[in-house]
């Protein structure tokens, strides 16, 4: 099967939805793709006990009302298919989509860093726990420790409490002085004042980070460094995330340039590749307010409505300053590079320990020698971790970008181009 659209948008989080709505008025035929079962991205992830914010519900309703926008949920991009085509896979089939223009709204994933015990059941990402809670994960009465860095830790704590968990500690690695500066600046952005008040949470500690997850078959406790002290807390769950990593794999395969490990864009949200735009966290992390604005600008620009795009630049600039405050306030303590022990697995797919990676000249050499990054996640977790631990450049993606069925790959059969980058 093959379909053609004027505009394809990859990712249906705030940026993707906003891009689709901005572009829809032009009458262009638009495809909005997402690998999750419903639109909303991570921040507006739906589930059995979730009450989405009014804005999310309104945007989803508007989206559903657009006759010229086709939404494809549970659909993954497997490979590029020709110069303006994508190979896709959903639950039933593999199929091809051709586009004239493309907007990448691929979002971000969590930076997950290895520490002793992090493979134990009961340990997840911080955004990871939040996502699992939205899906109905039961945590009622459980003791939960949240650790890592960034405002996501507070959001995770709030979700866990709402689901009946007892939050024992929120361990933020950033120093108190930096956090105080960040909190003092928050009232500059509408709606962010409450976030600074949440820093007063009695469980919250600055200058604190995880040292080890403890337990035999599953998590039983956590060892933390809290300022100058080492403390141990018993718990059933540890949610640990060290900030966000932009999802740039598809952009890299398309040949788009990166800047600071995110997709580089100009004022129009245009990438270095003709006809390809990017918006939201994949261009640098700044929260949903910025993502919505960037999405609108990209959507308007992609259908040549430049005046409407340009009208949003001042608002975007305001939220870009918030993004910058986030980035500087939650910069990672170099001590976090040394959490893993020699036998701590860094690559969880291929069970490759830290000792097998340390000492190599770069990612490629380490991969050839150890199989790190050659498993199911294709280095999305360990490649980002190795970038932080060793400063190695992040692995270039190779198709298929995600595990796929053979039948899907055969969709490329009638074409001359193999499923690889131009």
């Amino acid at each position: 099967m093959k379909r053609a659209y004027d505009l394809a948008i990859i990712g249906a989080g705030p940026a993707g939805i906003s891009a689709a709505l901005a572009a829809a008025a032009s009458g262009a035929r638009i495809a909005l793709l997402d690998d999750n079962p419903v639109a909303g991205g991570q921040i507006w992830r739906d589930g059995p006990q979730v009450r989405l914010p009014a804005l999310a519900r309104r945007l989803r309703a508007e989206l559903a009302a657009q006759a010229n926008v086709d939404c494809f949920a549970a659909t993954r991009v497997v490979a590029l298919a020709g110069p303006r085509g994508l190979l896709l896979e959903d639950e039933q089939r593999g199929w091809r989509l051709d586009y004239a223009r493309l907007i990448l709204c691929t979002g971000a994933r969590e930076l997950l860093l290895p520490f002793p015990g992090w493979t134990l059941p009961g340990v997840s990402g911080a955004g990871g726990l939040q996502a699992l809670l939205h899906g109905g994960l039961p945590v009622h009465g459980e003791r939960v420790v949240i650790a890592g860095s960034g405002p996501l830790l507070l959001a995770c704590a709030a979700s866990a409490r709402r689901h009946g968990a007892r939050v024992q500690r929120i361990a933020e690695q950033a120093a108190w002085s930096t956090l105080a500066r960040f909190a003092a600046g928050l009232p500059r952005w509408p709606g962010k004042l409450w976030q600074s008040l949440r820093l007063l949470d009695p469980a919250y500690r600055g200058a604190s980070h995880v040292i080890a997850a403890l337990g035999r078959e599953r998590l039983e406790g956590v060892r933390l460094r809290q300022g100058g002290q080492i403390v141990e807390l018993e718990c059933e769950r540890l949610a640990c995330g060290f900030g966000l990593v932009a999802n740039t794999e598809i952009a890299q395969a398309l040949g788009c340039a990166l800047r600071d490990d995110a997709i580089a864009v100009n004022d129009w949200q245009a990438t270095a590749c003709d006809g390809i735009y990017a918006a939201g966290e994949c261009t640098g992390c700044g929260g949903s307010e910025l993502a919505l604005l960037e999405g609108s600008i990209a959507g308007y620009a992609a259908v040549d409505e430049h005046a409407r795009a340009q009208a949003l630049w001042p608002q975007r600039q305001r939220w870009q300053r918030f993004a910058e405050a986030l980035r500087t306030s939650f910069a990672l303590d170099p001590a976090l590079r040394h959490l893993a022990a020699a036998d701590t697995l860094v690559c969880r797919c291929e069970d490759v320990p830290y000792a097998a990676l340390a000492g190599h000249a770069g990612w490629h050499a380490a991969k050839l020698a150890s199989r790190c990054g050659m498993g199911a996640c294709q280095g999305r977790v360990c490649g980002a971790a190795a970038r932080t631990l060793f400063g190695w450049s992040r692995p270039a993606p190779r198709p298929p970008f995600t595990p796929a069925r053979i039948a899907t790959l055969l969709e490329l059969d009638d074409e001359q181009e193999p499923p690889c980058a131009p």
Binding site: N36, E91, R109, S124, L132, G136, L137, R348, D351, R380
Partner: protein, 78 residues
């Protein structure tokens, strides 16, 4: 309330529950065994890390991105 089977055990869950959550509702929450034999559970919750891959009606699927449906047969990977 969809009713499904997890490693042969019947469980009914609230509509919209993910298979990843159902693994924890039905048992120890684990999804697969690692190469070294230890058990693993969902990690990233958003379709990236692949730790939650399970077999659903004979197909490899990510538990965190799959909503439970009536009659599903989920097998964790030993």
């Amino acid at each position: 309330m969809p009713e499904l089977y997890i490693d042969g055990q019947r469980i009914s869950v609230a509509a919209g529950t993910s298979v990843a959550a159902a693994l924890a509702l039905a048992g120890d929450g684990c999804s697969r065994s690692a190469l070294n034999g230890t058990r693993r559970a969902p990690l990233c919750g958003m379709g990236v890390c692949q730790e939650c891959r399970v077999s659903i009606d004979g197909q490899r699927r990510l538990a965190c991105q799959t909503p439970c449906r009536d009659g599903m047969r989920v097998e964790t990977r030993r």
